[in-house]
Structures are given as structure tokens and as C-alpha cells.
Symmetry: C2
Subunit: 260 residues, 2 copies
Amino acid sequence: MTEFLYGHWPVMEALRANRRPLEGLLLAERAEERGAIGEIVMMARARDVPVKRVPVGILDDLASTGNHQSTVLRAGPYPYVDVEAILHSATQRGEKPFILLLDLLKDPQNVGALMRVAEAVGIHGVIMQERRSVAVVPSVVSASSGAVEHLQVAQVTNLVSTMKDLKKEDIWMAGLDLGPNLLPINRTNLDMALGLVLGSEGEGMRRLVRETCDLLLTLPMRGRIASLNVATVGSIALYTAWQARDWQGWNAAADQRARD
Amino acid sequence: MTEFLYGHWPVMEALRANRRPLEGLLLAERAEERGAIGEIVMMARARDVPVKRVPVGILDDLASTGNHQSTVLRAGPYPYVDVEAILHSATQRGEKPFILLLDLLKDPQNVGALMRVAEAVGIHGVIMQERRSVAVVPSVVSASSGAVEHLQVAQVTNLVSTMKDLKKEDIWMAGLDLGPNLLPINRTNLDMALGLVLGSEGEGMRRLVRETCDLLLTLPMRGRIASLNVATVGSIALYTAWQARDWQGWNAAADQRARD
């Protein structure tokens, strides 16, 4: 199925990653080929992706509510991998597995934001329940700033049985949970083969998912609001776990980054 | 100046906090008074805020692009405080000052998300440069899920001179920065009187703001994207700093929370 990725970063990262069939780059009629768009056009040409000028109204339609920034990429479906590939890439990198598991998340913004942070901490892969959750649709790609194009993502039909399989591989399942008397996230040594499990917006983890976890952790809160967004909670948890690995894989001297 | 706050949480938290003049609650003609809306109406009546039914098109206009969820609150301007009030509330709570400083942030989503996390970690106040940054407008209130209604926020005309004043009070200014050879955020003891300084999207801190910092910290990253959103970076930094205070003020046993 053809998908329409939109926006500078998502389009650029899909071209860079070069994992999907790339069918064509659509540019707004009047967009100038400089800056980010210039770079995108160069990259498309280098990969023999046809470049076509179209009226901006067509891009508006293809990106629906998203901001296309004058660029839309016609591409094949998202290249999901299987769980074995995720474990394999941990082995290849000589690292203890570090996996993010998402149970029925619904909001593309949340999933995209989590994917972006997951990529930043060098996670080996993300495992998502296939039904009743958001898939890696173009709005997720956009919310991840294109990061998901570089990630290994597996969809599974039964998250609980995947968790059980991973436990047999000696990977600890740590669920982020809410409620009294839970262990704060920094009070466990997370420097181990780890699957971090996040539940859905509002509902949290399903009962069986929670019960399949080896340990339950919580992110403390004070203040009067007593609520945090799941993407915020997950981002902090991912960083806490990576910090426990002493920033494995970070090259401080070569650090050259941007942010928005 | 009258402002129009919109959405269940922002309206509810403005009513709960009760810090602004509350001029009237506008409800969509057909909205039923149950669930969140029921609670909002009860709270408005308890505070003698007039409740009025209006056609939903009026709410659409008042909330502009935001999702009003059938409720709009007409309220007075955001109740900014001065820097002294922020320091005073640290003293009152018997805690070392813990302050967030924002240098020219532009995106209401980022500022709102940061305010929400700042409230969750019990920060004593937020200090923002007055010109050329976003103020606490209704879209910030919404992005903060209403948290900013409970926070102490000061606007200052010269962030650098405020930083210098705070340094005289023995508050350390720690700036979050990008670039090679910076100290990762966990390699400093942040359990001290602390002002955490965040620069703007894209640009980072202005030169003078950076030079006025006592120390510069960075959030490590690996992966191919090499960019994180400033709200994500700031959220992780706020939690790192609160963790260094050993979750001061958190009541694990009474923890009752929701998230989205």
C-alpha cells in the first residue's frame, strides 16, 4: 500500500534510511530548491526517485491535517521487522537487549514522540500490539521527526505471549505503572537485558500485560495536577534506563546535534 | 484583558486554582452536565461564576484552533508573580530553590508541556523572558493540561540580570546545552539551590545567557536523528534534578494519578 509521508524531516529521513520502496517525491509548484528542500531533492535524485511538481492543493489533500512543508514522499508501507531481528541487532552490537513495548497506545503524537526518544537512546527495537493500537502511519512518522524510519519496529498479535518469549531469553519486563507503593524508577538497577513496557493513554497496561511484567516501576509526581502524558513518562523512563547503562554508545566528543 | 481558556482540564484547573478573575463559563448548547462537564459546572456554581449556554460555533471561534470540548472559561489575565514570590515559596516549603528559566521559547506546545512537568516535580517557579517569547496564553494553558494555573510564573525584562541576581542568592544556574565535550546531565550533583535554564527551539540559549550559567550540561544522544524536542530535553532534566533531591515532597503511599 502506498503511503504519503510529509514534512521536511520525515521525508528526508525516509530517503536517508532508504528502507521503503520510494515511488516519487512531490514538490509544491512554487517551492524553491534550497535549504531542506534542496537537500531532499538531491537525495531523491541520488536514489533515482522521480521528482514531480504539483499544485500545493494536492499536497494539502495528501497530508490531510499535517503540515507538509511543500514536500510529500510517495512510499511503500512501513518496513516492520520481526522480534528476532530486534534481538539480533542487540547481539550484533554486543549490547544487552534494550526494547520498548507499547500496549495499545492510541495517539500518533504520543507514539511518534516515544519513537523519537527511543531512537535517541539507541533502543534495539520497539514492539507494538497489532490490533487496537495505532500503527506506524504517516502521522507517527511526522511526530517522530522521521526517527521511526531508522528504528526496528515489530508488530505482534499477542503482546503477552511475546513478553513470555522474551522472558525466556532472560530479558526483564519492566512495566511503567501508576498507583500507591510502587518502586520509583531509579530504585532498581535497570542495567540488564530490559523490555520497558508502557500502557495506553488513560487506561495504562492491560491486566495480563501488567501481570506478565517482572517488575512494576513508577515515575514519582507531586504537585496538584497529578497527571503526566504517557510520552513524557516513557521518555523519562527510556533515559533513566539508558543512563543506567552509562550512556553506552554515546560519543561525547563527536556530539553534533540540533533540536526543536 | 479577558482570556478564553478552553478544554476540560484547563477550565477545571483554572476554577480549582481560582487565581484569576473568573467572568463566566460558556457551555455548548447541547453539552450534557455529566462527567468532566458536570464537575466543571458544579465548581463554577460553587465559585459564583455565571454559567451560560451558547451555540457551539461561538466556542469554536473563541478557542480558535484549539479543541474546546464544549467548555470555554472567560477569565482575567494570567496571574504572573515576581521573582521574590518564587524564592519565598521555596523558603516557605523549607526547600532549596528549584526554578526553571526559559530563554525565548516560541512554541506554546513546548512551553505548556514543560509547565506540566515543572508542576509535577514541584518546581517553585518558572521565569520567562518577557519579549520575543511566548507568554502564558490560553494555548499554553491547554498544552500544560491546566498545570500552569497552579504554578508561579514570573516574566522578566532581562533574563541575564535576573540570573545574576539569583546567583547572588547562591542559586546555581545550570544551562542545558548542545555540543561536544559537555558534562552529561547526571554527572553533576544537582541537589543544590538550582535554576535550570533552557534555550529556544533551534537556537538554544542566547550567548549572554549561556555565559551567565555556572555550569553547562547536556543530554546525551546516540542514533541517527540527533535531535530532540526542547520540551523532551527539559522534562528529562527536570526529573533528573528532582531525582537528585531524592523525590522530595513525593508521597508514595498516597500516589493517586491519571495520565493521558
